[in-house]
Structures are given as structure tokens and as C-alpha cells.
């Protein structure tokens, strides 16, 4: 079977070694910054997490869940821990070890929740770790919201299993203070004929590096991953996605949109999609679009599609980074609309596709308000 990547090139003669997958932190090398996985990331702010420094801070986690949902704290050796996520780097491995257990949220099979499960994670400073497990039983429906606020140097693992025939909407909002550091391994597994809609909304933080991964545990699974980030001066916001299609007839869609403004605003989007030799009938498409609002901001965007089967239903990707269009600004202003409002219109329009998908109204309003506030902060 031929191996091609997004560029249509054959693979390098010596393919890079597959990453170590282990729960043992010491099984992972200390990153130098030259590795493919770390080459965009400033390592200095992550040092304590890479070193696995003992926690000296706290992240306050409170879970509000509708009736019928079980929330408990379980030991690290509970069988639910590690069922979906196997760490691929030291930070994720330390997150589980140092968290000393996991918050486990269980939605029993065939439960149809009408209200979201909301986990509020409030950083209260210092180095801290957590591990969250969400299990949604067969044919259940649930919405899970993670709401990150405050500040911390924080490594947080999240694993979500969507049982067969179940439907899960997952939203993770990174609304950190300016000095927060957040490394998050977010692993999703999608059962047979199950549906996942996961959205990552990253607004704050000094350094945020989220690593959403999806795998399928049966045929017919459907995963829609969306993201929105607004990267400000001095911020580094990184989303590294990996969707692994090893099952037949599964579908994935990835739609990430970012806006950047200010000196040294840096966003990174990596979209890796792997389609295994047996994953016939796979249908996948990923797109990242970035809107650069000012000089001095930089968006890195790397889609990569690796296909090991000849029988896909569809596979594509797109990536585009453009500057804010002054002609659009002129057009809107020539209709009486002041510059600041015109920018808001344009940015909201740009984000619309992702914003419209956030079907938790309070959250959508909060994100829009935050985006508006970021825009007016520049006084545009």
C-alpha cells in the first residue's frame, strides 16, 4: 500500500520514530525543542511541568451535573483511567501521576441529558495537575463543558469515551488569566455509530498547548472537532490534533479558526490525520483558517494527511492564513460603521461558523463578549 502525505511526497526514508506511548513519565525523553512535536513551543514556561515538579498550587475543580450523572474521585489505578488516553509526552504522563487520581464523570447508558455537565476548573496559582475521565454509556446523550479560569501552571489530562450509539457534545473553554500556563492532553474515543462534537475555545493564557486526539472503537463513528482561538500580544496558543482512523466507515471533520493581534502573538495549529490500511470508507476533512489583525503576530498552520488505504470516501485538508482586509474595513466604514464596530463585525463573521456550533448559549455569549473585549482593547 502506498504511503502519501498531504504533499503527495513519498515518506522520508527514515521515518521519524513513533512517539513513546507510556504512562511512565521517565519513559519519555525530555524535550529539547528540536522534536517535531515541540518545535513550535516555547519550553521555558513549561519547565516545571516537564520536570514533573511536585504541585505547589491548586486547581479548584467543581463539577455541576444533572441528576443521573455520577461524579466521583477515583484512584489512578482505576480501570477507567487510561482507557482512552495513553500519554505521548512527559507532561501528560506527569499529569496523571501527580494528580494522584482522577475525577470520574459517568453518564449511564441510554441517559438523555437535557442540561450540560459543567466542570469549572479554577486555577489558584502555582504548579498543579489534574486528570478527568468522562464515560458516556451506550445510546446516551450528554453535553460536557470544561471552563478553565484563573491562573496556574497546569497540566490537565482529559479522556472522554463516547459509548456506542451515544452522542456527546464537548466544549473546553480556556478563559485563563494572562499568565496561565496550560498543557492539556484531551483524548476522545468514539464508539460504534457514536457521535462526538468537540469544541476548543482558547482565549486567554500565556501559553496554552492542547493536544486533542480522536480514535474510533468501532465502525460508523463520527467526530466533529472545532476550535476558535484569539491570540493576543505575547500569547502562545497551540492546538495539536491527531485523528486516527483505524476503523471502517468513520467520519471526521476538523474546523479551527484563529484570530491574532499584537506583537509576538503566536498560534500553532497542527492537524494530523492518519488513515490506516483497514480504514476503508473513511471520510475526513480538516481546515484551519487564521486572520491576522495586526503586524507582529504569527500563525503556524500545518495540516498533514497520511493515507494507508486506497479506498477512502473522502480525504482533504485546507489551511489559509490571511491578513485583515483593509478594503473590507473601508467598505463597512463607507456605510457609516465606525472602525471598531466594523472590525467586530468582520471578526464575528469570520468566527461565525465555529460560534454558531456552540449550542450552549451562555457560553457562546461569553466567547463573543470576550472576543469583542479583545478587539476593543487594541482600540481599533
Amino acid at each position: 500500500m502506498a504511503v502519501i502525505d498531504a504533499t503527495g511526497r513519498p515518506p522520508a526514508a527514515a521515518a521519524p520514530a513513533a512517539p513513546v506511548r507510556s504512562r511512565d513519565p521517565e519513559a519519555h525523553p525530555v524535550p529539547t525543542g528540536r522534536e517535531e512535536a515541540w518545535r513550535f513551543t516555547p519550553l521555558r514556561p513549561l519547565k516545571p511541568l516537564i520536570a514533573g515538579q511536585e504541585p505547589d498550587g491548586k486547581i479548584d475543580i467543581s463539577v455541576a451535573a444533572p441528576e443521573g450523572v455520577e461524579v466521583e474521585f477515583v484512584d489512578a489505578d482505576d480501570p477507567r483511567v487510561g482507557r482512552v488516553l495513553t500519554p505521548v509526552d512527559r507532561v501528560a504522563a506527569f499529569a496523571t501521576v501527580r494528580a494522584g487520581g482522577a475525577v470520574a464523570v459517568t453518564v449511564p447508558g441510554e441517559t438523555e441529558l437535557t442540561e450540560p455537565i459543567v466542570a469549572a476548573l479554577r486555577g489558584e496559582g502555582g504548579v498543579c495537575y489534574s486528570h478527568l475521565v468522562v464515560e458516556v454509556g451506550p445510546f446516551a446523550r450528554a453535553t460536557v463543558v470544561l471552563d478553565h479560569t484563573g491562573t496556574a501552571k497546569y497540566a490537565g489530562n482529559v479522556e472522554v469515551h463516547v459509548g456506542h450509539g451515544a452522542s456527546v457534545t464537548f466544549v473546553s473553554l480556556q478563559d485563563w488569566d494572562d499568565d496561565a500556563v496550560h498543557a492539556g492532553a484531551h483524548a476522545f474515543s468514539v464508539g460504534r455509530d457514536a457521535k462526538l462534537r468537540a469544541t476548543h475555545l482558547t482565549l486567554g493564557g500565556h501559553l496554552v498547548r492542547i493536544n486533542p486526539t480522536v480514535d474510533y472503537r468501532g465502525p460508523g463513528g463520527d467526530a466533529e472537532l472545532a476550535g476558535l482561538f484569539f491570540t493576543d500580544a505575547g500569547q502562545h496558543q497551540e492546538h495539536r490534533l491527531l485523528v486516527t482512523h483505524l476503523e471502517r466507515n468513520c467520519r471526521s471533520r476538523v474546523t479551527y479558526k484563529g484570530a491574532l493581534q499584537g506583537a509576538d502573538a503566536h498560534s500553532v495549529w497542527i492537524g494530523d490525520v492518519l488513515i490506516g490500511a483497514d480504514a476503508v470508507g473513511t471520510d475526513t476533512y480538516e481546515i484551519n483558517r487564521n486572520l491576522v489583525l495586526t503586524d507582529g503576530a504569527r500563525a503556524d498552520s500545518v495540516p498533514n494527511l497520511e493515507i494507508l488505504t486506497g479506498e477512502v470516501a473522502g480525504a482533504g485538508h485546507a489551511s489559509a492564513t490571511g491578513r485583515f482586509d483593509d478594503e473590507v474595513l473601508f467598505y463597512l466604514m463607507a456605510r457609516g460603521i465606525p472602525a471598531g464596530e466594523a472590525r467586530r463585525l468582520v471578526v464575528r463573521g469570520f468566527f461565525g461558523e465555529v460560534l454558531d456550533r456552540i449550542d450552549v448559549p451562555a457560553l457562546r455569549d461569553r466567547v463573543m463578549a470576550a472576543v469583542d473585549a479583545e478587539l476593543s482593547a487594541v482600540g481599533a
Partner: protein, 255 residues
């Protein structure tokens, strides 16, 4: 009494790499409310430059002369302030605003120009009726501004805005270009509806005389080489129809 006065206007454009280049070289023009003026001229004579300079496009720099609206210094105003003061420019090439719906755009614009949000029920009715007048499908309102619009749809959308915003001075830059006969008829009817209020001064920029059969100007100005080189009544348009711009182009080149 709304009057737009342009005196000895010199305008330069910022070129890519070659510094500023003078395009308009002393344009004089007065447009009063209720009047219709046509500016005609060959390609590259500076017609769009004049319209952009009036609207305040940042790429065009006024190096000399003045523009006033009822005595107020237009050049001291920002682009949005000019629009709120009553200057409207229907663009030759309207740009796409992805993800912003026509209805949201129109309402935001009307709110800005009128100084308050129009009452929702009346507004919806007004938009609906105006779209009907311009033979536009109502589904248009939910599309992204100019996104995937055909040339004719873009021009209708520009005229829709003019009808809703009721400007003191409307500048229509080649609104006729790219229109088939049907669309030209509809668009002209829209322009005439605004003219008939008697409240708007209209500056019709065109390369061809075709639209002037539907929208009759009282004044015709010929632009060549960045200047107005001839002026007259509507009979001048008829002359141009026959003889073209050849003699003016030579005059312009000599300037």
C-alpha cells in the same frame, strides 16, 4: 440645501513601490441636492479616484484643494463620519464580507447613519419592500455580504443600500457596468426613486452612455487625464455616444 463642493482637487495614490503618483490634477465640481451629474471618461481617467477621494479611501491622498458638504470640511472627516454626514458611494467593485449577513450589515449600517436603531418591525418591512422593488429574492438577506454574488446582484445590493440610507450625496461608480438590460432597468428605477425624492444629489460615474437613457442627468462632465476637460447638458452625452473620447484623451495626455 445640501451642496457638495469640490475645488481644485489634487489626489495622489500610493503605488506599490514607486511612491505616490498624482492622478487628479485640479478637479472642480459642485453637486446640489436634487441634481444629477454624470461624469464620463475613458478608462484610467481618474473617475474612481475621484469617488474614492470623496469617500475617504486611505490609499488616496488629497495633496491640494478642498471638498466641503454644506460648508463642512469633508477632508477633515474619517470615512465613517463622511458616510454619516450623508455621503454614499456605490462601489465599482464591492468586496465580500464573509460570514456577515446582508440583513445584519444593513441594519448595522442604517443604525450608524440614522443615529439610532430603526424600529424592528418597520425596518423589516422597509427592507422587504425595497428588495421587492429591486426584484431581489428575500433569501438574499441571509447570505454573506457580496459572498458569491453575481456582478448584477452586487450592484442591486449597492442600490438597496442607497435606497435605505437616503444619502444627501450619492456617488455611483460604474453601477451600470456588467448589468444586463433587465438589471439595468431595475437598478435605474432604484436610482430614479431616490432622485425623485429631491433630497439627494446624484453623481453618476460611467464609461458608457447606456445608463443615461434611464437616468437622465442635467449636467455632464467629461474627465480625462485627471481633469474635467469638458462640461455641458445631457446633449453632451449624445455627442460622446457618437464621437467617443478620442479628442479628450489627447488633451489629457498633453496636460
Amino acid at each position: 440645501m445640501s451642496t457638495l463642493e469640490i475645488r481644485n482637487l489634487h489626489v495622489s495614490v500610493e503605488t506599490d513601490g514607486e511612491g505616490p503618483r498624482e492622478i487628479l490634477r485640479g478637479v472642480n465640481l459642485t453637486v446640489r441636492k436634487g441634481e444629477t451629474h454624470a461624469i464620463m471618461g475613458p478608462n484610467g481617467s481618474g473617475k474612481s479616484t475621484l469617488s474614492y477621494a470623496i469617500a475617504g479611501h486611505p490609499k488616496y491622498t488629497v495633496t491640494e484643494g478642498s471638498i466641503t458638504l454644506d460648508g463642512a470640511d469633508v477632508l477633515a472627516m474619517g470615512v465613517d463620519t463622511r458616510a454619516r454626514a450623508g455621503i454614499f458611494l456605490a462601489m465599482q467593485y464591492p468586496v465580500e464580507v464573509p460570514g456577515v449577513s446582508v440583513s445584519n450589515f444593513l441594519r448595522t449600517s442604517a443604525t450608524a447613519v440614522r443615529g439610532e436603531a430603526p424600529k424592528l418591525r418597520l425596518w423589516v418591512k422597509e427592507v422587504k419592500e425595497t428588495m421587492g422593488f429591486l426584484e431581489m429574492d428575500q433569501a438574499f438577506a441571509e447570505r454573506g455580504v457580496n459572498e458569491g454574488f453575481s456582478g448584477g446582484e452586487k450592484k442591486r445590493h449597492e442600490i438597496l443600500q442607497m435606497m435605505l440610507l437616503k444619502p444627501k450625496i450619492a456617488i455611483l461608480d460604474e453601477t451600470d457596468s456588467g448589468l444586463d438590460v433587465d438589471a439595468l432597468r431595475v437598478v435605474s428605477a432604484g436610482i430614479n426613486a431616490v432622485r425623485e425624492t429631491g433630497e439627494t444629489g446624484t453623481l453618476l460615474i460611467t464609461h458608457y452612455t447606456r445608463i443615461l437613457r434611464y437616468v437622465q442627468p442635467e449636467f455632464v462632465h467629461v474627465m480625462a487625464g485627471g481633469k474635467i476637460v469638458d462640461e455641458g447638458g445631457s446633449e453632451l452625452a449624445a455627442t460622446l455616444e457618437e464621437s467617443g473620447y478620442d479628442k479628450y484623451v489627447k488633451v489629457g495626455a498633453g496636460a
